[in-house]
């Protein structure tokens, strides 16, 4: 159990496999928040990771905030809050209008 956030320690998410050392893990957390910030604002959401607690902080434009454990939970939360999944093949991400089949 993490004393800061109360999450029990979970087996590592598959995305963490690329970070062998604690330094790499912290760096990956910052980078993950940065990448999420490229995407989530389009859905009215913000991602923040201060590197201190294990989770990712997701907030809405109205300021309500929640902490999720991993990327799977980020996408599930984004889908719930914005009414549809964050689709990487959405035309807004691939720069054309024939992205949808």
């Amino acid at each position: 159990m993490c004393s800061a956030c109360g999450f029990p320690a979970a087996p590592g998410h598959w995305t963490e496999a690329g970070s062998p050392t604690p330094h790499d893990r912290v760096r990956a957390k910052f980078r993950r928040a940065q990448v999420l910030q490229n995407v989530l604002p389009a859905y009215g959401l913000k991602a923040f990771d201060g590197g201190v607690i294990p989770g990712i902080q997701i907030s809405t434009l109205s300021g309500s905030e929640t902490i999720v454990r991993d990327l799977d939970e980020v996408w599930a939360l984004a889908e719930k809050l914005s009414g549809g999944p964050v689709d990487p093949l959405d035309p807004r991400f691939i720069g054309d209008d024939d992205g949808k089949d």
């Binding site: 496999a17 990956a28 980078r31 993950r32 990448v35 996408w75 990487p88 093949l89 991400f93 089949d101």
Partner: protein, 319 residues
């Protein structure tokens, strides 16, 4: 069946849908010493072979990549089998006389046409006898595949033996319904269970009703499943890639049936594999071996072009 081979090479065809666990099962069989001295042929529909990296146990192995042996690469398979027969007849090789071949088909292959092609070939018919068609069936995903993919049904219909893989992680009720459904599709096949290749017992399914499968012939055709290759260049780091892939699988997991490839990360070479929305824990591969295909990811699915995947990934990474 072995008694009737008359000195011909026994060929085992190992099939099963994408990600059903063919390679995992075969790897364990080789580890246990089954298929001893067998020649292993691995076919992959995509041009980037991954499975051969997993099958290091086998001493004699060929990879047929870049086409499925039941259709586009059928001629390559026939040519390879003929050369194996030729070598054996001439006694050219120092290895023990070839008695058995294991052909692991791609997940998109229908084993039926492969068996037909071998039987129709005027040379091979005298040298090779198809001893068994083994089809791996994914206990977690097979039922949904069977309701939507005619290919999944054809694979099961031609099997002599069905291996229910991932039987230990699926719910018992779901496994029972799957078993009853498989029985209606293929009443004769021997059915056994496996977990990472190790045989496990299956629940009894007496009295369980099979799942009614819709008639696929009258349904509007969906776009065919096709492999796309995606190169992860140096501007894309592992973290950006994982954020992108996890979003892609969350949104499109039903259309992206398989992602495979070796990715270079600070932790080493990671073997990445997904089946629909399920991502396996990446396996760290040794540095040696063929590293030319590193960072080339194969995405098998429908509803996008390789170029769209690339642009989307670049957008996520902010490049």
């Amino acid at each position: 069946m072995t008694a009737k081979t008359e000195g011909r090479i026994r060929l085992t065809v190992l099939g099963g849908y994408l990600g059903s666990g063919k390679t995992t099962w075969l790897r364990h069989q080789l580890h246990e010493g089954k298929f001893r001295n067998a020649y292993v042929i691995v076919n992959e529909a995509a041009e980037t072979p991954v499975d051969d990296a997993l099958l290091g146990q086998s001493t004699r192995l060929s990879v047929l990549a870049g086409g499925c042996v039941c259709c586009t690469a059928k001629a390559d398979l026939i040519a390879l089998l003929r050369s194996l027969c030729d070598e054996r007849s001439r006694g050219l090789s120092d290895d023990p006389r070839l008695e058995q071949i294991v052909l692991e088909t791609s997940g998109l292959a229908d084993p039926g046409p492969i068996v037909e092609a071998i039987k129709a070939d005027p040379v091979l018919v005298y040298h090779i006898v198809v001893s068994e068609v083994v089809v791996a069936v994914d206990a977690l995903h097979a039922l949904s595949q069977l309701t939507t993919e005619p290919l999944g049904r054809r694979q099961i219909e031609v099997a002599d033996r069905l291996i229910i893989t991932k039987a230990d992680v699926a719910e018992e009720g779901a496994v029972k319904a799957l078993l009853a459904t498989l029985r209606t599709l293929n009443p004769l096949a021997v059915i056994s269970g496996a977990s990472k290749g190790v045989e496990v017992p299956l629940p009894s399914f007496d009295g369980i009703a099979p799942v009614a499968l819709p008639d696929l012939a009258n349904q509007p055709a969906r776009p065919p499943i096709a492999p796309a290759r995606l190169y992860i260049d140096d501007s894309i780091d592992w973290t950006a890639f994982t954020v992108w892939l996890s979003a892609l699988l969350h949104a499109r997991g039903d259309d992206i049936v398989r992602v495979k490839g070796v990715v270079r990360t600070p932790a080493g070479r990671l073997l990445l594999q997904t089946v629909r929305k399920v991502v396996q824990s990446p396996e760290i591969l040794p540095e040696q071996g063929d590293t030319r295909e590193d960072n080339m990811i194969v995405v098998i699915g429908r509803g996008y072009t390789p170029d769209q995947l690339k642009r989307s990934l670049k957008y996520f990474a902010g490049r």
